[in-house]
Symmetry: C2
Subunit: 345 residues, 2 copies
């Protein structure tokens, strides 16, 4: 991924991934959909996210281990596999730790294209963890947002974000660290919550939300982990958008609501089946948890761009090659096709 980003450029990679994701949501019906498979372990969670469009099959392995940084390890690591549906043979195994960060931000920016006010100029970013720079870059590149206001309780994390953004070649990004959430959301058209607390938190309170704002709720993404006060979700002017409803009922902000509460699937918005934002006064909420389709789109993109651009490739023996595919045992024992056929009457 580092090499690919070097060759292609980060802005191009994130916006290309966004386009792939959007075009796949436009054919939402074609996908085999299921909630991700999660095993909750002592220190975190290990998940598998599979899907298929009938031509290709993809899955991602992804973890969440908040205490890993104490050991010098990553909180979230991921890899993915893309396979051919006709044969079941995998043809790409890809590191996806970076790609997950890129596709999550690309998804947020694509959702905002349909849900945020078109005159949005300022975004509040609450949380300066691993995902935050990617959100800033995606909203700058894909939505033209230039003013970012930042809050994190961890000063070192906020300084890391400021430094990383300053080091970018884009000089029209204005990033303002703020001392409180109130100051951060003041005048924001988009509010992105991207905290990592693994509990029901109320990062964003009703008083922080004004008519017309788009809330990009990224951090709440597993059972028992939320960021928005429930009264924000219950506002009469709020419209809630989700990726795949059954999974978001388990993992998203809408854990806090009745299972019958009204939500709209993003794929239906892209396909014109349900409305996105209907008025400049709507409060739109993208209750993002991350869906397998986004990884599918990303893996297909990585496979294509890697072929086109000559990215780094190595071949691994994941599936054995057999002289005779009907003779698994003989192949394991090293027998040869010719001698076998002639030896048997």
């Amino acid at each position: 991924m580092r090499e690919l980003v070097n060759i292609v450029g980060l802005e191009r990679v994130v916006s290309d991934i966004g386009q792939e994701i959007e075009s796949d949501y436009a054919r939402w019906d074609e996908f085999d959909k299921s909630s991700r498979h999660a095993v909750h372990v002592r220190n975190g969670v290990i998940e598998l996210m599979p899907t298929s469009d009938g031509k290709r099959y993809a899955f991602k392995y992804v973890t969440g281990h908040p205490n890993n940084t104490h050991k010098g390890l990553l909180t979230v690591v991921a890899f993915g596999v893309l396979a051919d549906v006709d044969t079941g043979y995998p043809h790409l195994v890809a590191e996806m730790t970076f790609a997950t960060a890129l596709r999550t931000a690309a998804m947020s920016a694509i959702a905002a294209r349909w849900l945020a006010r078109t005159d949005s100029r300022t975004m509040a970013v609450i949380g300066a963890g691993a995902q935050s720079e990617f959100q800033v870059l995606a909203f700058h590149t894909m939505r033209g947002i230039k003013n970012f206001r930042l809050f994190d309780t961890d000063g070192a994390a906020a300084r890391k974000l400021v430094h990383n953004i300053q080091a970018l070649p884009q000089h029209d990004i204005c990033l303002t660290p703020c001392k409180s959430i109130e100051m951060t959301v003041d005048g924001a058209d988009v509010i992105t919550t991207v905290t990592a607390d693994k509990r029901k938190a109320t990062v964003l309170m009703p008083k922080h939300v004004h008519p017309g704002v788009h809330i990009n709720a990224v951090g709440g993404d597993c059972p028992g982990k939320t960021e928005l006060h429930v009264d924000i979700l219950l506002r009469p002017d709020a419209k809630i958008f989700v990726e795949y409803e059954p999974q978001t009922r388990l993992e998203g902000e809408i854990q806090q609501l009745d299972a019958s509460s009204a939500v709209r699937e993003f794929g239906d918005v892209v396909r014109g089946r349900v409305a996105g934002r209907e008025s400049d006064l709507d409060v739109t909420i993208f209750d993002s948890v991350g869906f397998a389709l986004e990884d599918f789109s990303t893996l297909r993109y990585l496979s294509r761009i890697n072929q086109e651009r000559g990215g780094q490739r190595e071949y691994i023996d994941l599936i054995p090659e057999l002289d005779d595919p009907k003779d698994l045992f003989g192949s394991l024992m090293g027998s040869r096709r010719g001698s076998r056929l002639s030896a048997v009457r």
Copy 2:
């Protein structure tokens, strides 16, 4: 796997895997269990089979594409990943096409240890596909069966099996190809059905089943695919054993029964919670579909034996190494820790 089998020996590998599986079923309670995730595609099925014992996490990717052999490809291909639960980091990616064949046969032989009559001497094998030699080898090695009777409608498949078994160094295996299922099951103490038809077939009829026999039903392993006539399952003297009941209800022979019908989980037999065979006249049926625990046991074995015996290893960059795990973005952009920390106030 070829190299490992060369170094360690096939008999040793299959019986070691059987021991690992049995010891894991003896701690059935410790495992996170779920039915496998299956995507049914045009030509077959693609499955993910995850489980964890709270220390290690494993999953297998496995396919079933019956028409693949026409293209010179394998019907079933598989690979697996073993990860550390504490960190979520994967530490083994292994080819499992051969390993799946080995562990399926090892599981059958282990189940027969608890379910077949101890004086079993003769096994009928119905079906001469990819799994059949492995079944013969496992029952010979692990159960001491020396007489095998074979039936397949495909003469070439039967000849392949005869040849492969004759090529083994074990000279005390007597394998008799038969012209009908009646002749094959005549006098058999164990009947192994291992056909690959992807439909509700009735390979084994009630007239083929006599008191005291153990039926090792391996071939029926997905929705709509069965091998036994339902009246065999309904015999008053029949006792049905399954790996993980929720999955077998979907995939096993017991698809043909009411969801409330009595079955016994094998883990409960190994732990002494329920009886296995209770009389020499019982008809025991192991309704095998393959459960994630068996792949978990196999991957752990492969990991250990590969370390001990110096099997082939290659290292792949599946997870990036970061100077600062809290700085994903900076790492992607190639910034250096030293310069970053000094550049920010």
